[in-house]
Every structure is written in C-alpha cells, then in structure tokens.
C-alpha cells in the first residue's frame, strides 16, 4: 500500500518536473523568437536565436527525455540534444563571420542615439523589388 503510494508520488514528481521543464523551454523558445523580431541588427538577433537553440531546446528536450523514461526514445532525444549542442553554435558562428566579412558591422549604442526617432529598420519591404 505504502509502496504503491510512493510510486504514485514518484510518477507525480516526474510529471511535474518534466512539465515544468517543457513549459520553461517553450517560454524560452518564444522569448528567443520575439528577440529575433525585435532586436535591431543581425548580430543581436543571433544572440536571440541562440536562446532558442540552447536553453529553449535544451529544456524542452530534457523535459521530454524525463517523460520518455529510460528507453530508446530518450537516447534519440539525447542525440538530438548533442547534435544541437554541436551544430547550432557552428551555424551561428558561420553567419556572424560571413556578416562581418561582408561589411556588416554591429550596431553600437552611438549609432542608435545618432539616429532619428525611427530607430528600427524602416519598412524593410523597400528593399524588395515589387515588380510593378
């Protein structure tokens, strides 16, 4: 009787823990995505994206791993986690390097102050060629 109830408690704890991790991961994913929209230039946006790829995905995958238990599934999730761990920084590093070498410079706070009230990129559709 007491054993069963302690097992129940264990399952409850696992559920609560994994649930909290999944929710926190989702929260960070949204935060990162908002950062991708709101940040002023490509380098700061990169910073926002890394939130998704590290803590967001990390927490989400860890939560799912706890939920999956000691199965093949958890191992696969772990592989995805490790893969993120290696590839995401490489991709971001590549973007940063390419942007720098192409003459893109990080926006400094002086740049922002010197700008007029419309500090955010003006309607970016200007750059796209509407063909009419």
């Amino acid at each position: 009787m007491s054993q069963a109830s302690s097992l129940d408690l264990l399952y409850l704890m696992i559920d609560v823990l994994s649930g909290a991790m999944i929710l926190a991961g989702s929260f960070f994913i949204i935060v990162g995505a908002i950062g991708l929209i709101r940040m002023p230039d490509v380098f700061t946006r990169m910073h926002a994206v890394s939130v998704i790829e590290t803590i967001g995905a990390g927490l989400l995958l860890s939560g799912l791993m706890i939920q999956a238990g000691p199965t093949l599934l958890a191992l696969k999730l772990f592989f995805v986690f490790v893969l993120f761990f290696f590839t995401a920084p490489v991709a971001t590093h590549a973007v940063a390097q390419a942007a720098l070498s192409a003459g893109e410079t990080p926006q400094l706070s002086e740049d922002r102050r010197s700008k007029t009230a419309a500090a955010t990129p003006v309607n970016s559709n200007d750059n796209e060629g509407a063909d009419d």
Binding site: M46, V49, A68, K76, F84, A94, Q97, G103, E128
Partner: protein, 94 residues
Amino acid sequence: MYTFATIAIIAALTLAVTRAVRGPTIFDRILAGNTVGTLAILLLIAIGFLFGRPEWLDIALTYAFLNLIATLTILKYVRYDDLEYDSSEKGPKS
C-alpha cells in the same frame, strides 16, 4: 503540456518566418532560415509526443544535419567572393 509546447513552437515559427520574409539584410534571412530549421525539428518532436507516436526522431536528426549543410554552403559562398555581395540588400545603414 505537449499542446502548449506545440503552440509555443508554432508561434516562434511564425515569428521566424516573419523575419525571413522581412529581411532586411541577407544575413537576417539566413539566420531566420536556420532558426526555422531548428524550430521544425522541435515541432516534429513535439507533434510526435502530442499525437502519441514519438518514435520518428530519426527525421529530426536528418533535419539537423541537412540544415547545417545548407547554412554552411550559403555562407561559404557569401564569404569567399564566390558570390557578389549585393549592396542593395544592405538594409537600413546604406
């Protein structure tokens, strides 16, 4: 719980696609494209758990590998003069 995660990922996906659509520089698009790839992987996993058949995480691994290949290809060509960097794409500062 899974539903919430799925909704969060889809919201993030929407925002990332918005960034890819709006630009303004080519690097924003590349970054957003990379993020869309990442979020597609997470979406796949979340949907798998949500609908009760999570055993296809293999696909997620494929996505991650191919995402890396695409990003690195694009960036190699941007960086090593193989592709003219287009000045009209420079965004607000030009």
